[in-house]
Amino acid sequence: MRDLSRRQVLRLGGAFGLLTGTAALSTAAALSRRPAVTGAELRSAVPLPPPFQVPLPLPRVLRPVSPGHYEITQRVAEAEILPGIRTPLWTYDGTFPGPTIESRRGRPITVTHRNELPVPTVVHLHGGRTPADSDGYPTDLVLPAGWTAEHHAMPDPRAVRTHLTRSYTFPLDQRPALLWYHDHRMDFTAPAIWRGLAGLHIVRDDAEEALGLPSGPRELPLLITDRAFAADGSLDYPSVDGNLRARPGVRESFLGGVLGDVILVNGAPWPVHEVDAARYRLRILNASNARHYELEAVADDGRRLPLVQIGADQGLLDAPVTHAALPIGPAERYDVVVDFAGVPVGGRVRLLNRLGSGRTAEVMAFRVARRARDDSRVPAVLSTDLPSWDRPVRVRDFSFRAGQLDHGRGWLIDGRPFDPSRTDVTVSLGDVEVWRLVADVHHPVHLHLAGFRVLSRGGRPPLPHDAGLKDTVSLRPGEAAEIITRFDGYRGRYLFHCHNAEHEDMGMMANLEIT
């Protein structure tokens, strides 16, 4: 056989290269999730209701038993989430979401929790500036009556355990904001939240109320979660140990996170809410374990209503920021004003999720019922007390990535899985630090105690929705962010972790010691 000429070699090589390249790239395009999604979706085994039929429930506001003192009983309850189907839940005071606590800035409250559930629990007030002994450290468990099983995986000599009840004291010396309380038990946070252990906590003050923002019935808390239902009506969840007593973790294909195929707002599937043709203040929390949303408000004619962001995780922005669509990762909150004035009476505005597909692309709807007077306003200046820090005393890098645990795969911060007895980061009270967070897949990174500001994303300026003071920053695959904060308030042992609840249960937490 005669030698091939260079031209022939090139032609052959070129053709082969082109073929391989086209095949590789089309396979990548076909197999990949675009947009990227971290987690695996459960499919409900019961028929799902049509969207926008069930009215939006508003969680009841908890009445104090005496001034500044609240009591909540954690117990099993049944609820009709899907029409005609009974679903057993783990609840705060019998409902999902739990009752809302309304509080005032600087007025301390005490919440006494009584655990009547079959497993230990611990309550964390997410976003609260709370002394360490009331911050709900994952081993500070409240044991239920007759608890005998011991989860010996990681002994923690500093754990403070109580039997049956525990009182948490919240000074609430912080900016007015939408906070939320949820279970934070080590290794079992994700299934506990999934079963219903989450509720809202609102902090208010006079300055915010003087702004003239939409209020009363025109202020709506929206707690968004995704869930899946088993054939018997119970919530489906891929736990290794269905009793959640001893063995933590989920089946292997769900290591990335558990997604449901039913979107619940305030515990109702794809609900609808009747509104006046006026401005509404939507206080949105993504309380999902792993699902990210990109929300947009779309009218019947396809027009997108502007989402005017007035607040972030830790309260009001300095000035409003208008979005066409708003991405929200697990545990993030956005305070948004939507004006329904331009929508005809009888018209509908759907809240959609651009990251969803099929049924998860819809969230809820508003039906404009009547014209009405609107005295509310969105001032150009919302607040003037946002901290701005400079001169950090330290810069730290953290990687958030998949890795090997002692038993099986899991999630690591800086190459190490969570160990309650190891101090990962020590800071002095009052120190300003810059943290540079690098993610392999989606990781919503949350700091306890300290609110922070986002300095950059991917080496470029922060995105419009990064404005204001946050306590959770949602990183996308391969993305990095720089955040700056000042560790003040209280000394003690705190946490920072990924708020993908499955990641957090499978190692992705670290200890922050403030001295």
Partner: protein
């Protein structure tokens, strides 16, 4: 076999430097994903260098085409430079599903091109 002239050497040199630069990109990406934030800056600077070298190589290939009547280096370099441009914006957009396989293919393509350029002088008349 002919002596290799200055025009060819220029293209060979640029393509060689281009290959060295592109080999750094997966390294810096790995450093970045290990949690070293500075790896991101190296990867971004590397992207600027690699893409610029791609365009310089394109100019050298045009000169080769004009002076030596050899067109294939130009077409091959155009393909690599086009891939690198797409790669650049896929990276900025965080479209990792495209960025990763296209990166591997681009490196493979450039390796083949550099080998072809260095194997025999461009001045050689093809058999």
């Amino acid at each position: 076999m002919q002596r290799t002239g200055g025009t060819s050497w220029a293209l060979r040199a640029v393509a060689g430097a281009h290959l060295v630069a592109i080999a750094g990109q997966p390294v810096f990406a790995g450093v970045y994903l290990s949690g070293d934030y500075d790896g991101l800056r190296l990867h971004a600077t590397g992207a600027d260098v690699v893409t610029s070298l791609g365009y310089v190589q394109l100019i050298a290939a045009i000169v080769v085409w004009v002076r030596l009547r050899r067109a294939w280096p130009f077409f091959a370099t155009t393909a690599v430079a086009a891939a690198e441009t797409v790669q650049y914006f896929a990276g900025l957009d965080g479209a990792l599903w495209l960025h990763l396989p296209l990166g591997v293919l681009t490196v493979a393509g450039l390796v083949v091109l550099v080998v072809a350029l260095w194997r025999r002088p461009l001045e050689d008349v093809d058999a």
